[in-house]
Symmetry: C2
Subunit: 204 residues, 2 copies
């Protein structure tokens, strides 16, 4: 019964990964031991090592999983037609990420901050982190194409640069939210609207 076996393997892998996420979100990578993860998953060392031979493998798998949640958020926005202007798009993306990625029993956005730190010293994590950045930037570059078509941004705007700035805005929101906690999607989008001159009052 290879089908059952595969789904079992996949579920068990996810169980371990989510246990690791809970540990990582609370204590970061360095202060989390493999023993912490065995205990959190309720599994033996052997059961965990079968799926993840080392903590680095868990950190890399965790980093990779971040992109999946972000892709989901973009799929929601991409289905909106006509495309909303940048600040409204931004509010929807951030709001969707917060609801889909963050509201499980683990706030994955905290783990993202540990990934960025670890990416600076561990080349293999750096490689995964760069792939995530580039994946998210690609989605923003697609949005830039649609914003152009809708007349929201200049027809000759550099899509790569728009993607760089939009990715940066997302990162900044995550850091402020987790570090200070006093920022909502609405407040952040309102600040962007003020800068982009697209708030109701400026449009008059």
């Amino acid at each position: 019964m290879p089908r059952v076996s595969e789904s079992y393997l996949s579920a068990r892998r996810q169980q371990i990964l989510e246990a690791a996420w809970r540990c990582f979100a609370k204590n970061g990578f360095h202060a989390t031991s493999m023993q912490d993860i065995f205990a959190e998953a309720g599994l033996s060392a052997g059961a965990v090592y079968r799926y993840f031979p080392s903590k680095l493998d868990l950190i890399k798998a965790t980093s990779e999983s971040l992109l999946g949640g972000l892709d989901e958020a973009f799929d929601v926005v991409t289905s909106a037609d006509p495309v909303p202007p940048p600040n409204a798009t931004f509010r929807i993306v951030i709001d969707t990420i917060m609801r889909r990625v963050v509201t499980r029993d683990t706030d994955v956005s905290r783990i993202a901050m540990h990934v960025w730190s670890e990416a600076l010293r561990e080349p293999e994590v750096g490689e995964v982190a760069r792939a995530v950045v580039n994946g998210v930037r690609d989605r923003w570059a697609d949005m830039a194409v649609r914003w152009k078509a809708a007349g929201h941004i200049a027809p000759d705007a550099d899509e790569g640069n728009v993607a760089r700035t939009c990715y940066g805005l997302m990162v900044g929101f995550v850091v402020e939210r987790n570090l200070v906690g006093d920022v909502t999607c609405e407040q952040y989008a309102d600040g962007l609207a003020a800068l982009t001159g697209t708030s109701a009052d400026v449009a008059d």
Copy 2:
């Protein structure tokens, strides 16, 4: 001769701190031992502990020092009259930070990323990090007041929200620059200009 003694103490403290920065920028906080810092500073354990009784004290002092460099960058922009529009202001702030804060023998912006991660698990670092965020946001809120007066943003824009978004933009730049490395102040400001509709082509 208390004056000489004070300046000696201050110079020695700075020497230790900068040695710690070099270690932290390279390896983060957790993979840096006090022994690494003694070796990097070329000082005995006793000499270092006299100024910084623990690694946590060094991490806190490092976090605090980030604000000083940022304040310098804002002082440069604040002296510009009339105030440039948001995207140009942003380019100047980022460019100034890069030249003043980053180009010593240590890229302090890398350390900032370790501070954000550590702030999530170590309450004392979190407290310092929040103070830095609030200090930088205050500077952006001051800019928002000047942007209003100059007609760059709507007169009833929420200064706190503008500050939140501008701080987030800075954070995002630091992360992209250190993680991927393919972003310049000009590219980032160009992306913001495209979003704010203030590039030359849109203004026509």
